[in-house]
Symmetry: C2
Subunit: 137 residues, 2 copies
DNA sequence: GGCAGTAGGTTCTTCTTGGTAACCACGACC
DNA sequence: GGTCGTGGTTACCAAGAAGAACCTACTGCC
């Protein structure tokens, strides 16, 4: 911003570590940014769970969404799926080490949220008062 | 809280800080989990930007999506929008302190992503080999 | 006069996400 | 014999997010 001989157009000050703009943020968000993944991970952080247990622990999730969510998490190596060939079949889901490291990340998110929740709610109220009926939400 | 006289069914081991399952994770993800917010925040972390600058810096974003994104970020108190009543009007976007704290969070996300990217890609390939044509993505 | 740039707004269409419901096999329970 | 519970799958559908294309109003440049 200050002195420049030939004008530095856009000097990267806080890049993401040498990568372009994106870094890998989009990848993470594509993975856990959906509606249910983090909730399932948080529940599995408490211990091994079966399908119905998960469904009951995550209120509002449908069978299909839970199926899709655990499949994706399994595919990404975040959880393991163990089938016991009993009748009726028992399927157990558990976090992998990588899935467990994800819980730390989730914790960071939660901490940030708790820290700024009030300020955000306040900012929203102020903004909504100044811009009534703008349709932004 | 601890010792229960009538059997504690599921003892929370890694709760999110006393709140239910959710904590504030969903709030954060609802805020930054969309396709563009983090990218705009990352770009603004480099300094003050104008509308067109942002649009050029975030490849692929449409005018409308950029408008919506900056409006929402402004509403949540993450960025400020300063209009200079010149002709043509100049509008400058900048991070607030809270928006800046968000960049730290984003950094954490990026670090986690960089650390586990390879392992995830590997897990995916293995899974896709074992489950061909399952339709999961 | 015509084009580019600036900061959007408006409308239309497409794509993705998530939800609902039905169905399966199998045994247990009543 | 009907229903429940288990762990799914499949088909269908509604809502919202995103994209594309057009519009404004204003000025400076050639």
């Amino acid at each position: 911003m200050s002195v420049g001989h030939t004008a530095v157009t856009t000097q990267p000050v806080v890049t993401c570590g040498g990568e372009r703009e994106d870094c890998g943020i989009r990848e993470v968000l594509d993975r856990i940014g959906d509606k249910w993944s983090v909730l399932v991970v948080v529940e599995l952080a408490q211990g091994v769970r079966r399908f119905r247990q998960l469904q009951r622990a995550v209120p509002g999730i449908s069978q299909r969404m839970l199926t899709l969510t655990v499949r994706r998490l399994e595919r990404d190596g975040m959880i393991t799926r163990t089938v016991h060939p009993t009748i009726p079949p028992q399927v157990e889901y558990a976090l992998t080490p990588m899935g467990h490291s994800l819980t730390h990340l989730v914790r960071t998110l939660a901490d940030w949220s708790a820290e700024h929740r009030d300020a955000i709610a306040l900012a929203r109220r102020d903004w909504d008062e100044l811009n009534p009926g703008s349709g932004v939400r």
